[in-house]
Protein backbone atom coordinates (compact mmCIF):
# COMPACT_ATOMS: atom_id res chain seq x y z
CA UNK A 1 0.00 0.00 0.00
CA UNK A 2 1.41 3.38 -0.98
CA UNK A 3 1.97 6.04 1.61
CA UNK A 4 -0.91 8.58 1.47
CA UNK A 5 1.60 11.40 1.84
CA UNK A 6 3.53 10.14 -1.17
CA UNK A 7 0.29 9.90 -3.15
CA UNK A 8 -0.69 13.43 -2.14
CA UNK A 9 2.71 14.77 -3.21
CA UNK A 10 2.47 12.97 -6.55
CA UNK A 11 -1.02 14.41 -7.05
CA UNK A 12 0.24 17.90 -6.29
CA UNK A 13 2.98 17.55 -8.87
CA UNK A 14 0.48 16.33 -11.46
CA UNK A 15 -1.85 19.21 -10.60
CA UNK A 16 0.89 21.68 -11.43
CA UNK A 17 1.74 19.78 -14.60
CA UNK A 18 -1.83 19.63 -15.89
CA UNK A 19 -3.15 22.96 -14.59
CA UNK A 20 -2.66 24.71 -17.97
CA UNK A 21 -4.87 22.07 -19.65
CA UNK A 22 -7.47 22.36 -16.90
CA UNK A 23 -7.45 26.17 -17.11
CA UNK A 24 -7.89 25.92 -20.87
CA UNK A 25 -11.07 23.88 -20.37
CA UNK A 26 -12.43 26.58 -18.04
CA UNK A 27 -11.48 29.20 -20.63
CA UNK A 28 -13.65 27.35 -23.17
CA UNK A 29 -16.59 27.60 -20.75
CA UNK A 30 -15.91 31.32 -20.21
CA UNK A 31 -15.80 31.88 -23.96
CA UNK A 32 -19.00 29.90 -24.47
CA UNK A 33 -20.79 31.86 -21.72
CA UNK A 34 -19.83 35.11 -23.41
CA UNK A 35 -21.08 33.74 -26.71
CA UNK A 36 -24.46 32.89 -25.14
CA UNK A 37 -24.85 36.42 -23.79
CA UNK A 38 -24.03 37.82 -27.22
CA UNK A 39 -26.32 35.36 -29.01
CA UNK A 40 -23.32 33.99 -30.85
CA UNK A 41 -22.93 30.44 -29.55
CA UNK A 42 -22.16 28.18 -32.51
CA UNK A 43 -22.84 24.44 -32.58
CA UNK A 44 -19.11 23.83 -32.66
CA UNK A 45 -18.43 25.97 -29.60
CA UNK A 46 -21.34 24.34 -27.81
CA UNK A 47 -19.83 20.90 -28.47
CA UNK A 48 -16.48 22.14 -27.22
CA UNK A 49 -18.16 23.43 -24.07
CA UNK A 50 -19.88 20.08 -23.43
CA UNK A 51 -16.58 18.25 -23.91
CA UNK A 52 -14.66 20.70 -21.70
CA UNK A 53 -17.24 20.45 -18.92
CA UNK A 54 -17.30 16.65 -19.18
CA UNK A 55 -13.53 16.44 -18.82
CA UNK A 56 -13.50 18.88 -15.92
CA UNK A 57 -16.17 16.83 -14.16
CA UNK A 58 -13.99 13.75 -14.41
CA UNK A 59 -10.74 15.43 -13.50
CA UNK A 60 -11.39 17.94 -10.72
CA UNK A 61 -12.73 15.48 -8.16
CA UNK A 62 -9.77 13.22 -8.77
CA UNK A 63 -7.62 16.09 -7.53
CA UNK A 64 -9.87 16.47 -4.48
CA UNK A 65 -12.04 19.24 -5.91
CA UNK A 66 -15.50 17.71 -5.54
CA UNK A 67 -17.12 21.15 -5.71
CA UNK A 68 -15.48 21.62 -9.09
CA UNK A 69 -16.86 18.32 -10.34
CA UNK A 70 -20.38 19.36 -9.27
CA UNK A 71 -20.05 22.72 -11.04
CA UNK A 72 -18.67 21.09 -14.17
CA UNK A 73 -21.55 18.61 -14.23
CA UNK A 74 -23.96 21.56 -14.04
CA UNK A 75 -22.14 23.17 -16.96
CA UNK A 76 -22.22 19.95 -18.98
CA UNK A 77 -25.95 19.68 -18.33
CA UNK A 78 -26.50 23.33 -19.30
CA UNK A 79 -24.68 23.05 -22.62
CA UNK A 80 -26.37 19.72 -23.38
CA UNK A 81 -29.87 21.24 -23.19
CA UNK A 82 -31.98 21.14 -26.32
CA UNK A 83 -32.88 24.80 -25.90
CA UNK A 84 -30.20 27.27 -24.86
CA UNK A 85 -32.39 30.33 -25.02
CA UNK A 86 -33.96 30.19 -21.56
CA UNK A 87 -34.15 33.18 -19.25
CA UNK A 88 -30.92 34.15 -17.48
CA UNK A 89 -29.10 31.23 -19.04
CA UNK A 90 -26.20 33.49 -19.92
CA UNK A 91 -25.92 34.58 -16.30
CA UNK A 92 -25.93 30.96 -15.15
CA UNK A 93 -23.28 29.98 -17.68
CA UNK A 94 -21.10 32.94 -16.70
CA UNK A 95 -21.51 32.20 -13.00
CA UNK A 96 -20.57 28.54 -13.44
CA UNK A 97 -17.40 29.44 -15.32
CA UNK A 98 -16.47 32.02 -12.69
CA UNK A 99 -17.09 29.56 -9.86
CA UNK A 100 -14.94 26.97 -11.60
CA UNK A 101 -12.16 29.52 -12.00
CA UNK A 102 -12.39 30.27 -8.27
CA UNK A 103 -12.18 26.57 -7.40
CA UNK A 104 -8.97 26.27 -9.42
CA UNK A 105 -7.52 29.32 -7.67
CA UNK A 106 -8.18 27.80 -4.26
CA UNK A 107 -6.38 24.54 -5.20
CA UNK A 108 -3.49 26.41 -6.77
Amino acid sequence: MGDPTTIAEALNQMWVKFLPDIEQRVAVLEFAATAISEGALTAELREEAVAAAHKLAGTLGTFGLDEGTALARDAESLYSRDNLSGPRLDERATALAAQLRAVLARRT
Binding site: G2, M14, K17, A57, G58, G61, F63
Partner: protein, 124 residues
Protein backbone atom coordinates in the same frame (compact mmCIF):
# COMPACT_ATOMS: atom_id res chain seq x y z
CA UNK B 1 2.83 -11.60 -8.98
CA UNK B 2 1.76 -8.05 -9.75
CA UNK B 3 -1.35 -7.58 -11.86
CA UNK B 4 -0.87 -5.99 -15.27
CA UNK B 5 -3.41 -3.35 -16.26
CA UNK B 6 -3.83 -1.38 -19.48
CA UNK B 7 -5.37 2.09 -19.16
CA UNK B 8 -6.96 3.48 -22.34
CA UNK B 9 -7.95 7.14 -21.98
CA UNK B 10 -7.48 10.17 -24.23
CA UNK B 11 -7.06 12.55 -21.27
CA UNK B 12 -3.43 12.85 -20.20
CA UNK B 13 -4.23 13.88 -16.64
CA UNK B 14 -6.65 11.05 -15.96
CA UNK B 15 -4.31 8.52 -17.54
CA UNK B 16 -1.33 9.66 -15.45
CA UNK B 17 -3.22 9.86 -12.17
CA UNK B 18 -4.76 6.43 -12.68
CA UNK B 19 -1.38 4.95 -13.62
CA UNK B 20 0.27 6.53 -10.59
CA UNK B 21 -2.50 5.14 -8.38
CA UNK B 22 -2.23 1.57 -9.65
CA UNK B 23 1.57 1.57 -9.57
CA UNK B 24 2.11 3.39 -6.28
CA UNK B 25 -0.83 2.22 -4.22
CA UNK B 26 -1.11 -1.34 -5.49
CA UNK B 27 2.29 -2.05 -7.02
CA UNK B 28 0.72 -3.22 -10.28
CA UNK B 29 2.33 -3.03 -13.71
CA UNK B 30 0.61 -0.40 -15.84
CA UNK B 31 0.55 0.20 -19.56
CA UNK B 32 -1.21 3.18 -21.11
CA UNK B 33 -2.77 4.07 -24.44
CA UNK B 34 -4.17 7.45 -25.47
CA UNK B 35 -6.77 6.22 -27.96
CA UNK B 36 -8.94 3.25 -28.74
CA UNK B 37 -6.81 2.35 -31.74
CA UNK B 38 -3.58 2.46 -29.73
CA UNK B 39 -5.31 0.50 -26.98
CA UNK B 40 -6.20 -2.34 -29.35
CA UNK B 41 -2.57 -2.69 -30.41
CA UNK B 42 -1.19 -2.52 -26.89
CA UNK B 43 -3.77 -4.96 -25.54
CA UNK B 44 -2.83 -7.51 -28.21
CA UNK B 45 0.88 -6.98 -27.56
CA UNK B 46 0.97 -6.91 -23.76
CA UNK B 47 -2.03 -9.13 -22.98
CA UNK B 48 -2.85 -7.38 -19.68
CA UNK B 49 -4.87 -8.97 -16.88
CA UNK B 50 -7.47 -6.20 -17.18
CA UNK B 51 -8.25 -3.09 -19.20
CA UNK B 52 -9.51 0.21 -17.80
CA UNK B 53 -11.29 1.84 -20.74
CA UNK B 54 -12.60 5.40 -21.04
CA UNK B 55 -16.08 5.65 -22.56
CA UNK B 56 -16.02 9.06 -24.25
CA UNK B 57 -13.02 9.35 -26.55
CA UNK B 58 -12.68 11.05 -29.92
CA UNK B 59 -12.46 8.69 -32.87
CA UNK B 60 -12.98 5.19 -31.51
CA UNK B 61 -15.04 5.49 -28.33
CA UNK B 62 -15.07 3.03 -25.43
CA UNK B 63 -17.94 0.77 -26.58
CA UNK B 64 -16.47 0.53 -30.09
CA UNK B 65 -13.02 -0.25 -28.69
CA UNK B 66 -14.56 -2.91 -26.47
CA UNK B 67 -16.30 -4.58 -29.40
CA UNK B 68 -13.02 -4.61 -31.35
CA UNK B 69 -11.22 -6.16 -28.37
CA UNK B 70 -13.83 -8.91 -28.31
CA UNK B 71 -13.35 -9.65 -32.01
CA UNK B 72 -9.65 -10.46 -31.54
CA UNK B 73 -9.08 -13.94 -30.04
CA UNK B 74 -5.93 -12.64 -28.30
CA UNK B 75 -7.85 -9.94 -26.37
CA UNK B 76 -11.38 -11.38 -26.36
CA UNK B 77 -11.26 -12.73 -22.81
CA UNK B 78 -9.46 -9.85 -21.09
CA UNK B 79 -11.78 -8.30 -18.47
CA UNK B 80 -12.71 -4.71 -19.33
CA UNK B 81 -13.89 -2.03 -16.91
CA UNK B 82 -15.37 1.19 -18.22
CA UNK B 83 -14.24 4.46 -16.68
CA UNK B 84 -16.65 7.33 -17.25
CA UNK B 85 -17.56 10.75 -15.91
CA UNK B 86 -21.23 10.36 -16.81
CA UNK B 87 -23.22 7.22 -16.24
CA UNK B 88 -26.97 6.79 -15.98
CA UNK B 89 -29.05 3.70 -15.25
CA UNK B 90 -29.72 3.19 -18.95
CA UNK B 91 -25.98 3.38 -19.65
CA UNK B 92 -25.23 0.75 -17.01
CA UNK B 93 -27.75 -1.64 -18.57
CA UNK B 94 -26.35 -0.98 -22.04
CA UNK B 95 -22.79 -1.55 -20.85
CA UNK B 96 -23.78 -4.73 -19.00
CA UNK B 97 -25.44 -6.02 -22.17
CA UNK B 98 -22.17 -5.41 -24.02
CA UNK B 99 -20.33 -7.66 -21.57
CA UNK B 100 -18.46 -5.05 -19.58
CA UNK B 101 -17.26 -6.39 -16.22
CA UNK B 102 -17.88 -3.17 -14.29
CA UNK B 103 -18.33 0.58 -14.62
CA UNK B 104 -16.13 2.85 -12.51
CA UNK B 105 -17.06 6.49 -12.18
CA UNK B 106 -14.82 9.53 -12.59
CA UNK B 107 -13.78 11.28 -10.52
CA UNK B 108 -12.07 8.45 -8.67
CA UNK B 109 -10.06 8.46 -5.49
CA UNK B 110 -6.46 7.54 -6.36
CA UNK B 111 -6.09 5.89 -2.96
CA UNK B 112 -8.98 3.47 -3.53
CA UNK B 113 -9.00 2.94 -7.31
CA UNK B 114 -7.01 -0.34 -7.08
CA UNK B 115 -9.46 -1.66 -4.49
CA UNK B 116 -12.40 -0.79 -6.74
CA UNK B 117 -10.79 -2.70 -9.58
CA UNK B 118 -9.87 -5.65 -7.38
CA UNK B 119 -13.38 -5.87 -5.97
CA UNK B 120 -14.93 -5.69 -9.44
CA UNK B 121 -12.70 -8.47 -10.76
CA UNK B 122 -12.58 -10.65 -7.66
CA UNK B 123 -8.84 -10.17 -7.25
CA UNK B 124 -7.50 -10.81 -3.76
Amino acid sequence: MAHRVLIIDDEDDIREVAAMSLETVAGWEVMVANSGAQGLTRAATYKPDAILLDVMMPGMDGPTTFRELRKNPVTAKIPVLFLTAKVQATDRRRFADLGIHAVLVKPFDPLTLPTQISNALGWK
